[in-house]
Amino acid sequence: MNNQEKEPLFSAKNFNLLTAPLNKNNPITIQVLGICSALAVTVKLKPALVMALSVTIVIAVSNVVVAALRQYIPDRIRIIVQLVVIATLVILVDQILKAYAFDVSKQLSVFVGLIITNCIIMGRLEAFAMANKPWQSFLDGVGNGAGYGIILIIVAFLRELLGSGTIYGYPVIEKLGLYSIGYENNGMMILPPMALIVVGLIIWAQRGRDKSLIENK
């Protein structure tokens, strides 16, 4: 690990940490982590964006904290230590949301609290931060947060556009005048089951493009 000391901040390896989770190592579609909260907040773009941002902040900061403390955390109680670090950060995020974005905080309801048990965060802490330096862990955290965010935003974009006919609250379909020629919103898209099916289709598209990701059973 010492030979990494003189590495430039954005070496190819570090840069890869940041970009791999966006596609080849995406936390949701490939690592299967953090699905719980990902689906419930994707009815509209705005809560999805806020959620993606909150998770990215929590994961990046907790990665740095745990990576900095990794030599002092006894192995047996590491889960509790990690949970405390995460829970503290989530409380901060929750209080900030309540203060500055109350309506979004109401929409997200319990799902802000559920960032604590979001498996992406625990997963990255266990798999990466416990064994790497703070700076690499920070990049890994931001990368995974962004990878999670991308899926959230794609799903939320499709669900909002097809289900409510708006994009980020802006009534696109109405402005295009599609309602007057008989277009109807697909109410199904707002309901929970469609989130699952949309993610399933994203996985299909991604694996169809890149055959190396296909699971062999």
């Binding site: 579609t29 299967v32 953090g34 889960i79 829970a87 048990t117 498996c119 309901l191 996985i203």
Partner: protein, 205 residues
């Protein structure tokens, strides 16, 4: 009594943890390859929910809520600790899981052997924390309601994971397009099951 039954049915079918709120999806997807293991995990979840939801209900009622500390004296009437909810709930859950694990190990080694590996995993299952947070948000009136809600959510989760595991076992004989194999088809199946479960919407006793 009718009220309790209503909460019970509602938490199993109408507000199913997996199909309506996507809670506990991570272990739901990871452990649902065979029916046998998924029954083990499902029972462990029911068990832990049965204990943690009422315990967190008491903590919420007597410690965290605004004015809850009044039993300590008039001076505590204005104390509001509700911002500590997350950290206290997750600590309670982690401690309870550990406790349950030790008790089962002591008194029923057979059950411990079948649940063993799943119990530690449960501490970070979002369905457990989610149930406690929903319990807080919905403001159940008394401990009986909270307990029934806990059991109901657990059974709902058990039902979901056993259902998908049974389907996945049969799926091995189906011809699924390559890119959809594994995760993709599981998502779509869960979506279809969720649509079926929506048929329960509006049930009231």
């Amino acid at each position: 009594m009718e009220n309790l039954l209503n909460i019970f049915i509602k938490s199993i079918f109408v507000e199913n943890m997996v199909f309506a709120f996507f809670l506990g999806m991570c272990s739901y997807l990871a452990v649902s390859k065979t029916v046998k293991t998924s029954i083990g995990l499902g029972i462990a979840v029911v068990f832990v929910l049965l204990i943690t939801v009422p315990v967190n209900f008491l903590i919420e009622k007597f410690i965290l809520k605004k004015g809850a500390l009044i039993w300590l004296g008039q001076g505590f009437a204005d104390v509001d600790l509700s911002f500590l909810t997350f950290i206290v709930f997750i600590a309670t859950i982690a401690a309870m899981v550990q406790l349950v694990e030790m008790i089962i190990e002591k008194f029923s080694p057979a059950l411990y052997n079948s649940l063993g590996i799943f119990l530690p995993l449960i501490a970070v299952n979002c369905a457990i924390l989610g149930a406690s947070l929903f319990m807080q948000e919905r403001e159940y009136a008394n401990i009986a309601e909270a307990t029934v809600f806990g059991i109901g959510s657990g059974i709902g989760w058990l039902l979901a994971i056993v259902g998908i595991a049974a389907i996945r076992e049969k799926l091995q004989y189906s011809n699924v397009p390559d890119p959809l194999k594994g995760l993709g088809i599981t998502f779509i199946l869960t979506g279809l099951m969720a649509i079926a479960f929506m048929g329960f919407m509006g049930i009231k006793i």
